[in-house]
């Protein structure tokens, strides 16, 4: 039997978390996994803290229990800290270092790292927002990070590409490919 892989994506409403989780989910189903997941809709979506769970090879409920997450993909450092209780010991944590401030709250990146470090040392931290800007389209941050994290997800590259093809609007497919590939290669640099 295949091993279960629990992935948590978190960030701030509007960063493309829903789309990212759906691409993983569709790619997972394509490869024959049973997939479970959750999404956030409605009021909480408006610029609030957002989480999406994707569970590959899972026949239970949609939500990852605390301390069971294999991979955490965080689009915003403070949100990574907030959801870090979901990560298992020595799980993989991919973090975008670009901060989206909460008015009236200052924090140091070091504090965030400290909170994550009590769970794992496998932290991959980059300014993915800055990288997206360099690539010319800051809104594709989510796909860049998905590309990077895809190195840790047991789904073939072509299944991700197929899922992007199925789910993303036609005019954006090309740019999404580019960001996915760039993200995937970034890990090997």
């Amino acid at each position: 039997m295949k091993k279960r892989v629990d992935i948590l994506i978190c960030g701030v409403g509007g960063q493309g978390i829903l789309l990212t989780s759906n691409i993983i989910g569709i790619a997972g189903v394509e490869e024959g996994f049973s997939v479970r997941g959750t999404e956030i809709h409605g009021m909480s979506q408006r610029g609030g803290s957002v989480e999406a769970h994707i569970r590959l090879n899972c026949n239970y409920g949609p939500q990852i229990p605390y301390g069971k997450g294999d991979i955490l993909i965080g689009f915003e450092p403070l949100e990574v800290a907030r959801y870090s209780n979901y990560l298992k010991e020595n799980g993989i944590c991919v973090v975008n270092s670009y901060k989206i401030p909460i008015i009236g709250y200052e924090y140091d990146e070091k504090e965030i790292i400290k909170i994550i470090k009590r769970k794992t040392d496998k932290i991959y931290i980059e300014n993915f927002t800055e990288k997206s800007k360099e690539l010319g389209y800051v809104r594709c941050l989510n796909i860049l990070m998905l590309g990077f994290a895809s190195n840790f997800i047991p789904i073939k590259e072509e299944s991700f590409i197929n899922a992007i093809n199925m789910y993303v609007k036609k005019e954006f497919v090309k740019i999404n490919y580019l960001f996915f590939k760039s993200g995937r290669e970034l890990y090997h640099l």
């Binding site: 701030v12 409403g13 989780s21 759906n22 989910g25 569709i26 997972g28 189903v29 394509e30 024959g32 996994f33 049973s34 997939v35 479970r36 997941g37 959750t38 999404e39 956030i40 809709h41 409605g42 009021m43 909480s44 979506q45 408006r46 610029g47 609030g48 803290s49 994707i54 239970y60 409920g61 949609p62 939500q63 229990p65 605390y66 403070l78 949100e79 800290a81 907030r82 209780n85 401030p101 909460i102 709250y105 909170i115 009590r118 800051v138």
Partner: protein
């Protein structure tokens, strides 16, 4: 897409949202007409139905409110066709009047009510448990435990509704409606039988003499319901060896399964997916264990039933649940919560590493027209005015001190009327366009008729924004995105007898302030329509603004709009990448320091 063969049928496997699975279930079950008012977490069911039913002649509408929805669906049912009505939990309060009595009369074509509850109130004003309506109405309620089962039950429910001759409920919850799963999709089946309304006054006209008979019949029918529910596969007893049995209702079954299998426990489980609970199966379960733990989201509905059955059958099980505080009375359950309860039973406490991170609450989008409306209202009426509010994105105005109440759909206007009788300060009710159509209209007419002295603001962003941009009667578009009659707000309001009704553009702040000052001190009901399309749906040119730092004097006036794109750094204002080019800040800047970025225009 993957194909599967099951029982000789080809089935397709798709990755679906729980609500989408419900839509497929209704579709496959032979749905012929669907009615709904948008509400999180239920809205995607209707949207998916529109998408998948293109080839079929299925009638789908966004109705003006849930009561109207229900009565439409019931009307369809009386013509012999299969219909459904979809809503969020609080929507059933609005539809409860026709619902309760329609169970007295019974139905002809299958009638299914889908109610999506919101434990933890992610996007709601309360956490009420719709299963209570099952008891009140005396029909059958289903509660699926997984997304695949949501589809299966939705499909089956029409047939069952026709079999017992009653409307039936399906209760979903947020994590089921907005959960995702691979789902097997099958073929559409159709109802075979007679169509057309057949007159039968003693059945359908609920005058007191008929109602008394109908209630007696309904009470007698409960015995048939009990027998039928016993035969269904959805609620079941899974045998085990442990002395502690677990009762798991709806989605909590998936949490219990994960907990039990991860911990390698061999607990007997009683899965509840039907109300009433199947009595014989339950009795077998209760007799096989000494103690039981009950997991359910919302009220202790199943738990209370178990207490009743225990008394009837003289069983002595120790019951752990909400009533004796072993499970939470509020919020959602999860695998962790299930584990916590078992810790509690053993007298232990589970420890979590805790750290404090400030909340990141939802906010209005950059360039949201409501920001302009709130800015204008504060300027004209000041902070001493009373702002009874309503349900929609604009409820987020609570942080801008321009929403003082939020109770239920349409309440802002009527509460304002009541307040205005005894308050000296201005009363300024705030309601959205879709909410105004939903239940605001009777409240407005009441205010005019009874000569209230209040201002009513309709924040008309040309859509039902909060729930994902569904059309409403003011948009001139229907659920299938076809053109229809547009109900013009200004005309409608004038015809309700309002003499002072004006339309302003919340982006043109100065102009709007002047216009509103003109009617502010008049007596009676004054209506201001703030008309400007939602920033998410507006297809306008994507322009951005920037700060000319030579001109910016650092007065911070632009910050008082509370736009997400605006910040303050090194003594000057700064506009970030979130700017949607609304121009509200340009409109109020006294130093002309906010400039349009033409290159991006």
């Amino acid at each position: 897409m993957l194909k599967y063969f099951l029982n000789g049928n080809t089935m397709e496997k798709k990755y679906l949202l729980g609500n989408e699975a419900l839509a497929y279930g209704l579709f496959e079950g032979g749905l012929e007409a669907s009615f709904a008012y948008p509400g999180t977490p239920s809205s995607e069911i209707t949207e998916k139905l529109v998408e998948i039913s293109k080839e079929e002649n299925i009638y789908i509408e966004w109705s003006i409110n849930e009561k109207v929805s229900y009565e439409n669906a019931y009307g369809v049912s009386l013509t012999g066709r299969r219909s459904c009505v979809i809503m969020k939990h609080v929507g059933l309060n609005v539809a409860s009047d026709p619902f309760i009595t329609s169970v007295y009369t019974g139905i002809i074509g299958g009638l299914v009510i889908i109610v999506a509850d919101d434990p933890f109130a992610y996007s709601s004003q309360n956490e009420q448990d719709s299963r209570r309506y099952w008891q009140l109405a005396k029909t059958v309620c289903f509660e699926p435990s997984s997304i695949q089962e949501s589809k299966n039950i939705a499909k089956f429910s029409f047939e069952f509704s026709e079999k017992i001759g009653l409307p039936v409920m399906i209760r979903s919850v947020t994590k089921l409606s907005h959960g995702k799963s691979d789902v097997l999709i099958g073929k559409r089946q159709k109802k075979i039988g007679d169509y057309g309304f057949k007159k039968n006054p003693s059945k359908f006209v609920m005058v007191p003499s008929n109602a008394r008979v109908a209630l007696k019949n309904l009470n007698e029918k409960q015995e048939i319901i009990k027998k039928e529910v016993e035969k269904l596969p959805f609620s079941k007893f899974e045998k085990g060896e442990s002395n502690i049995g677990i009762v798991a209702c709806g989605l909590t079954y998936s949490y219990v399964k994960e907990f039990v299998e991860t911990e390698k426990k061999n607990s007997p489980i009683f899965k509840v997916s039907t109300y009433p609970l199947p009595e014989k199966k339950l009795k077998n379960f209760l007799e096989s264990v000494n103690e039981i733990v009950v997991f359910e989201e919302g009220d202790p509905v199943a738990e209370e039933q178990i207490y009743i059955y225990s008394k009837i059958y003289n069983l002595k099980n120790k019951i752990y649940g909400k009533i004796n505080n072993f499970t939470d009375k509020e919020g959602e359950l999860s695998v962790d919560k299930v584990e916590e309860t078992f810790y509690k039973i053993r007298g232990k406490k589970k420890k979590y590493y805790s750290f404090s991170i400030p909340e990141r609450p939802p906010v209005l989008c950059a360039g949201c027209p409501h920001l302009g409306s709130f800015y204008i209202l504060k300027k004209v009426f000041g902070k001493d005015a009373l702002f009874p509010g309503d349900i929609g994105c604009y409820t987020l105005g609570v942080k801008l001190e321009t929403i003082d109440t939020c109770l239920c759909m349409g309440a802002g206007i009527s509460m304002g009327s009541g307040m205005s009788r005894f308050e000296k300060n201005n009363v300024v009710s705030i309601i959205g366009d879709s909410t105004f159509f939903h239940t605001g209209i009777p409240a407005l007419i009441n205010a005019v008729y009874n000569q209230a002295n209040q201002v009513i603001c309709i924040l008309d962003n040309r859509t039902t924004a909060m729930t994902g941009h569904q059309p409403h009667p003011g948009t001139g578009i229907n659920a299938k995105k076809e053109k229809t009659v547009e109900i013009e707000l200004k005309k409608l309001i004038s015809n309700c007898g309002v003499e002072d009704v004006i339309e302003v553009d919340p982006y043109k702040i100065k102009e709007a302030i002047e216009k509103i000052k003109g009617i502010k001190d008049k007596k009676g009901v004054k209506v201001i329509i703030f008309k400007r399309e939602c920033i998410i749906t507006s297809k306008g040119k994507k322009i951005q603004y920037y700060i000319d730092s030579k001109r910016c004097k650092g007065c911070k006036l632009c910050l008082t709009i509370n736009c997400l794109a605006m910040s303050f750094k090194n003594g000057k204002a700064e506009i970030g990448i979130l700017c949607n080019g609304c121009g509200m800040c340009e409109n109020i800047c006294p130093y002309k320091a906010i400039v349009k970025d033409e290159k991006k225009g």
